[in-house]
Symmetry: C2
Subunit: 313 residues, 2 copies
């Protein structure tokens, strides 16, 4: 008999929109659900829609002072120097007081944080912990339910790159990233994909709480390797843009020698790595200021144990 | 023998980038040409690349205080109340002092103003005056040179909608609008189209100055009819988004009864006009704040007389 993890039922779920104020699918859906909650209601579970960065939503910008999705580290969450805190750090502390505290037993069980990207990533789920069997099982369920539509999983576990995301205060933090969609735009096709992901996530939780056992599963994920910077000259000016052959090719293999950038005088700059990688977040608008042209990933397969709830209702 | 217009040679041409600071193709090209002018040089013509809204470019936003591309009316250009002027109105006066004055003999002959849109408009040329034979001839030349790639012409002459564009200070104002491209993003395909339009425009001017006669021509244009607003509830909240069937269908016919919007509860809102129209600027990010979901146009054909230069070099 295989190992089986017996887990507590899920009691509290939050759905975050507007962590980046110009990523409109989540803002629009969360505002809708705040008025019409029946779509996300599931028996015996508190499901709470919440706008995390109302200041940024109001201005339709990514953030007011700093990226809310990078400040949920212990230093910021504990900082009591109230006079000098940025809008987003104050907001992070407030969010942590409601849905956390991060790392504690009181934290929400699940946070689904809704994002858009200008990259052609399609429907994407973001996993923070490769040992989180519950979330891997959920992602497997969502992927299966979304088929034949592709639904990719990005694993952001990394020895050096730390994200300190808004959702990271939950026991099971889940990023939902759907693109391509320009900042400040609502596309019906993107909205529909995001909405279906949330439906399947909540259905999974409902089945789990009801006592359904989820058998051991495997999940193909793309694990973050590194960020690739734009070429710049001595003045710091960007000297090349994403090559046509790479544009819109998120999740497709990039081989050493493949075109990566194009300079304005027509010179191609090739990828010079020593192995095949799978780029993602290619040409994401918000990452120009971080000087990230794209993120490389490697494909790997995670295995999750069977899971079951302790106390079927 | 047909009529022929004999016109003065073109002496001064400006290429504007960054009128909207987050429309990056023009910003990137103009900054490139400021350092490497040989690509846009033509004998006997001053061709001046210029960043019109450096404050907005610096912040990668559409504008700092107000839309620079709507303030070139006589009231703003003459306003001397320096203390209370917005950044963009001050900038408009400065631009007018260099490239204008608007409506005077001293104004630049041609201004090519470079824009991007999140709409699927492809390569688009914007015409302000249906009687401007020189510009119609240029657009005909550009369209022919771009083929088989589509290059649409939008005519913004309208009894009620007035634009007061940045380029309107020139004798021949030319808008260049290429999409789809998200705000804050540079796409190689979009950059290439814009660059080819500028090459063909400058080649046309060069041929014209050299004494080449351009024979009478006809030009298919899409003339602005009206702007269509998003449906809103009593609180002013947007209640529907662009329908999937209309999204990305710029320049395609929209018939009475065709789907136009979709509400979050799945209801379709149909187009209820009384004739076929050709929508454009569908789901443009910058027009949410103007509450414009798209612009309707009608197809028409303009005729231009033959043109020739007075003094062939």
């Amino acid at each position: 008999m295989t190992a089986r993890r017996v887990l507590n039922p899920v009691q509290r779920v939050a759905i975050f929109g507007g962590t980046h104020g110009n990523e409109l699918s989540g803002v629009f859906l969360v505002n809708h659900w705040l008025k019409h909650g029946e779509e996300i209601a599931r028996p015996g579970i508190e499901v709470r829609p919440f706008i995390t960065n109302p200041g940024a939503v109001e201005k339709c910008v990514r953030y007011v002072d700093t990226d809310l999705n990078r400040v949920f580290d212990s230093e910021n969450l504990r900082n009591e120097n109230n006079l000098n805190l940025s809008y987003e750090v104050k907001r992070a502390q407030y969010i942590n007081s409601i849905f956390g505290p991060k790392g504690s037993e009181d934290a929400y069980d699940v946070i689904l944080d809704l994002h858009n990207t200008t990259s052609h990533m399609g429907a994407t789920l973001i996993l923070e912990d490769s040992k989180d069997d519950f979330t891997i099982q959920m992602f497997n369920y969502i992927k299966t339910s979304m088929a034949p539509l592709a639904c990719s999983v990005l694993l952001i576990e990394h020895p050096r790159l730390k994200y300190a995301t808004t959702r990271s205060i939950a026991k099971h933090p889940i990023g939902v990233e759907v693109g391509p969609q320009p900042q400040g735009v609502l596309r019906a096709d993107v909205l529909d994909k995001m909405r279906r992901i949330i439906k399947h996530a909540l259905d999974f939780i409902n089945y789990f709480n009801d006592g359904k056992e989820f058998l051991p599963c495997i999940l193909e994920v793309f694990k973050v390797l590194d960020n690739v910077a734009y070429p710049r000259n001595a003045n710091g000016d960007c000297t090349a843009i994403i090559h046509n052959n790479l544009q819109d090719q998120d999740w497709k293999e990039l081989k050493p020698g493949d075109p990566m950038f194009l300079t304005l005088d027509g010179r191609m700059i090739a990828y010079e790595g020593d192995c095949i990688v799978y780029p993602t977040f290619i040409n994401e608008a918000a990452y120009y200021e971080k000087n990230q042209a794209f993120t490389t990933t490697q494909k790997m397969t995670l295995c999750a144990q069977a899971i079951r709830c302790t106390e079927p209702k």
